[in-house]
């Protein structure tokens, strides 16, 4: 057990516990707040994976924007059925069973895989930095098409979302 492993276990525990709270909390704003804790835990995991850029992007996009969007949406859609109504549908037991089966299946499948216990290779000079990411994103034999398509996708999402949410009643 190194310090890193203990750190990982702690963060993983907090993240998982918060994610369980996300799906089990009745109060939607609280669920969104638990989601923020989960997202923050994931950001820390990115730092542990030497992907600092993704950690800050996670905080900026998920915590700074998406979670606020969620809270706004929750406040906009006042649940007319009230907090007393059941939070879960009738098939929740089946859902829990399915989720457990999936986890078990994934676990078994992964365990048989040879790369399961890989340790991270050391960084070399070839290891890409954020600069290489930037170069790859706009180079024609890299990811320029996904890059521009992502932009168009976001435009479409935004125009569509505004149209849908704002259309006359």
């Amino acid at each position: 057990m190194t310090v890193m492993q203990i750190l990982f276990l702690l963060i993983g525990l907090v993240t998982l516990a918060a994610s369980v709270m996300v799906v089990s909390t009745r109060n939607m704003v609280r669920a969104a707040l638990y989601l923020i804790v989960t997202l923050f835990g994931v950001a820390v995991l990115y730092v542990l994976l030497n992907a600092g850029f993704f950690a800050v992007v996670q905080v900026v996009i998920y915590i700074g924007a998406i979670s606020i969007l969620f809270i706004f949406a929750v406040m906009l859609t006042r649940d007319v059925t009230g907090l007393q109504a059941a939070a879960f549908n009738r098939t929740w037991l089946l859902a829990a069973f399915l989720a457990l089966v999936l986890f078990g299946g994934l676990f078994l499948a992964l365990q048989g895989w040879s790369g399961f216990e890989t340790v991270p290779p050391a960084f070399t000079d070839d290891t890409p930095t954020i600069r290489d990411l930037g170069l790859a994103l706009v180079s024609p034999d890299g990811y320029v098409i996904p890059f521009e398509v992502a932009s168009v996708l976001l435009v479409a999402a935004m125009i569509g979302a505004i149209y849908v949410a704002w259309g006359r009643k």
């Binding site: 996300v22 799906v23 992907a51 070839d126």
Partner: protein, 102 residues
């Protein structure tokens, strides 16, 4: 060092928790929260695979970034649909939105 398996198991667990949320919750926004959890689990996997198996290849980072964009678009449209439904049908309970069911 942390073996890759730890990240994978954590991501799998998070994915399953998200799946449970999607399948079991009635509130449509809660379902979207579950989908967020699943997307995050996927992204952990993408970044972990990049770091452990092939750090020389930029593809892992590029795809993780694209997943961010997709997640943002998904949330934007999903929540907009829920708000529109709420404005028209006055409900956000997923089971009651069954006009297209039959």
């Amino acid at each position: 060092m942390i073996p890759l398996s730890w990240y994978l198991i954590l991501a799998a667990a998070m994915f399953c928790v998200g799946l449970y949320g999607v399948l079991a919750r009635r509130n449509a926004i809660a379902i979207l929260l579950g989908i967020e959890l699943m997307l995050n689990a996927v992204n952990i996997n993408v970044v972990a695979f990049w770091r452990y198996l092939n750090p020389e290849n930029i593809a892992g980072q590029a795809f993780a970034l694209i997943v961010f964009a997709v997640a943002a678009a998904e949330v934007a449209v999903g929540l907009a649909l829920i708000i529109a439904l709420y404005r028209r049908r006055n409900t956000i309970v997923a089971e009651e939105i069954d006009l297209l069911k039959w």
